[in-house]
Symmetry: C2
Subunit: 450 residues, 2 copies
């Protein structure tokens, strides 16, 4: 039932394009979902993609366009006139998808495309959607929805809904507004279905409806929808008027994107990449962390360099350099990641910063004791000197405590100053803890015996 793009399937498509066998191509793709066709177009060359694309009927072509990867879509649209874009694509799309596609065009082309739209309401909806900031509810909402006046009776609502429903794919919920379009509440389709036809809406609508403003942050939107298990969320303007709705499939895309971004940032990528990106893009995304690491390594070299003469006499101090550096980095990543995730998911609870640092201190104490006792045992067992054993254990303990506190403190402070706390994961925390860990290690060694 489900389509899976195999090498073989892709091979026959490429073969049919080569021989310009339109009948075979049609039989290969005509039954496919737009998302599947987009997947094929993303995989073939631009020339092949264009040949295949012009075989699609207009409505399907528009749906496929929305599903394409951004760079492929851009190339497609670059070759079309503003008039073609407006008439062949935009007019077949919902307002939110239409605005997304238009937003990717150059400024001048944006205006032209909008001017070519025949449906004035659609044009003004798109213009409105384009004004909202990318990170707000306004940018994610669609204008298509079904609303009824509180003074109407069920019978009239059903008639009005039939009209409105033509341009709404999924109904989900019917919104109740007053004569000034102010959002009052909701009625489920189901409820409308089972209520006597002469009843006035005002008598049975549900008034405790959860909504957001156009400028509500998207992270907030996704937290609300997840917390209250909503599939659709109404959006109001400053005056409380209903002006759009956000559906959960769009929010899910945002959540997934955010999660992928955080994951990649934590694993040392400075921009969001995919395994299929070019070597150049992949290298560029990784280089910043490597350079930070390089600088950290150079600082590390400088610190160890201070103790050059001591290392000549006590080369055994060098043995545990990787251990100390690695453990500092590890603990820092662990503690910062929990804070970063807690901030994003709003699961930090109501503790103050001091309480959180206190808790982190306890955790670091437990793990620091366990790890330093193990390494003490190891060093004794392998006959290392008393001085070295104590130095390594004491330094490890200190580093674990410090890295834990620093990893907790940094993202909290960044967040306080409205800087993305995710910056505190990965390269920054690791490198600082590496370097400071080494400094502590050698300082303790110096105090002990070096």
């Amino acid at each position: 039932m489900q389509f899976e793009l195999t090498k073989k399937y892709l091979g026959s498509i490429k073969e049919s394009i080569k021989t310009a066998d339109e009948i075979k191509l049609n039989s290969l793709v005509s039954e496919l979902h737009p998302a599947d066709i987009a997947e094929i177009l993303d995989e073939v060359s631009m020339r092949e993609a264009k040949f295949l694309y012009q075989l699609l009927d207009e409505e399907k072509a528009a749906d496929v366009l929305v599903e394409l990867e951004e760079d492929v879509r851009e190339e497609f649209l670059a070759n079309l006139s503003s008039k073609e874009i407006a008439e062949q694509f935009i007019e077949n799309l919902d307002s939110d998808d239409a605005a997304d596609v238009i937003a990717e065009l150059p400024d001048k082309k944006q205006e032209e495309v909008i001017a070519y739209l025949e449906d004035e309401e659609q044009a003004s909806d798109i213009v409105e959607l384009l004004t909202y900031d990318e990170s707000t509810a306004g940018s994610l909402m669609t204008k298509e929805l079904i609303k009824v006046n509180q003074n109407w009776i069920v019978e009239r609502c059903v008639l009005e809904m039939r009209k409105q429903a033509e341009e709404v794919d999924y109904v989900f919920t019917i919104y109740v507004v007053d004569s000034n379009d102010k959002l009052l509440g909701i009625v489920s389709l189901k409820r409308m279905l089972i209520t006597p036809v002469k009843t006035t809406i005002a008598d049975f609508y549900k008034s405790d409806v959860i909504f957001v403003n156009t400028n509500t942050d998207l992270e907030e939107v996704s937290n609300i929808m997840q917390k209250y298990d909503l599939v659709v969320l109404p959006v109001v303007n400053e005056e409380g008027q209903l002006i759009g709705r956000i559906t959960i499939d769009d929010v899910m895309d945002v959540v997934k994107e955010e999660a992928d971004k955080d994951y990649q940032m934590a694993s040392g990528h400075s921009e969001v990449v995919e395994a299929t990106d070019t070597v150049w893009v992949l290298s560029r995304a990784r280089l910043p962390w490597l350079l930070i690491g390089l600088v950290g390594g150079i600082f590390g070299a400088q610190i160890i360099g201070i103790y050059e003469d001591q290392i000549k006499i006590h080369p055994e101090m060098a043995f545990f350099i990787p251990l100390i550096a690695a453990m500092g980095g590890n603990v820092g990543v662990q503690s910062s990641s929990i804070i970063v995730q807690g901030l994003a998911n709003k699961t930090l609870g109501l503790d103050t910063m001091l309480q959180r640092l206190g808790k982190e201190f306890s955790v670091a104490l437990v793990n620091g004791l366990v790890c330093s006792l193990i390494i003490l045992g190891y060093n004794f067992a392998f006959g290392d000197s008393w001085n070295l054993s104590i130095t390594v254990s004491a330094a490890l303990f200190t580093v674990i405590i410090f890295a834990g506190l620093f990893g907790t403190f940094t993202p909290l402070v960044l967040d306080k100053y409205k800087i993305d706390p995710a910056l505190a994961t990965g390269p920054f925390i690791t490198t600082v803890n590496d370097v400071l860990g080494l400094l502590m290690y050698f300082m303790i060694g110096r105090m002990m015996y070096m």
Copy 2:
């Protein structure tokens, strides 16, 4: 509009519980959404939570129960008899939530609760849901749905739907089945609304419906729903009979959970934790990575130990130990994370393993060259010896290439053998690359001049 739990609000609630002021408590929580009440109960002590909870009416109490954190819910239910659990809670829940709550009970209590259920259909639905593996579509689906026979006319459908709708919260889509309950297609509520009442369903239903089987993997379910922008997905059994549906809010929970788990695994946690967990839970989750790191550090010490005599003469070799170790770890994490994410999101494309390794080799080549040239320049500028400079640069270059390939290879192999590739991120890759990087560094140093 939106509720936010503040310290002050929590304070008045705690105060009212202390003074047993039920009227004030009722005024504080009666208007709140079950998810908000659950949030309060998660924050107060168990004794306080119980006092507050018994003030809720039965239906709300059931909804709150579902929203509680697992450990709090467990404590709540532990004090209730099987009869109370069945009659006060389970009977007020949808089949999927009911099955989730029951699944958390001890085996014996599970049977008792089910035996106490008065609605036999609900009981058999729950028994069925409990049989599905946690990671499959069957475990996430709910039995409540609306279905119509292909031979019915719209008029009859509307009547039947009114009956069925009573136990379905959101309708979304109407499923079309044959007389043997085999899934044939779907009709949207909107379509049903605008079609003449005497039309037979068979004449206008949409037959190309996307569905999954009860044993379809949850990751697959979420990929399908995201790819095709679905809000609800029908589930069929081996015979193709419609037996349930999965809604996107439940899938979103799974996606979020998976993303959080992967993020935490990549940042060195062996179990999923939250900042609000106890010190003991947090310490336990972090210790495994630290112990792996400790073992890696000990191996590192052994390797450096081999070169003890050389370090006495050439202490400058020790300076760059942290650099080499850190860079190996960083590159390994970068390359493995992209593969792990690509495997999870199915965005790896159709490349073979050899092609992927080839690409990774190119990326590592670019970054390896950049980094080793920089460090070469640094060493020259600071007057380090020719031998040391070449050693550090050559080792860094080798380590970056090796770590990149190893980080790509490992998750791909794990995935091939059906082991969670996420294991290859974090501790394992970092530690192996740390240790092997050191070995390469000293071997090259030995060859060069030590």
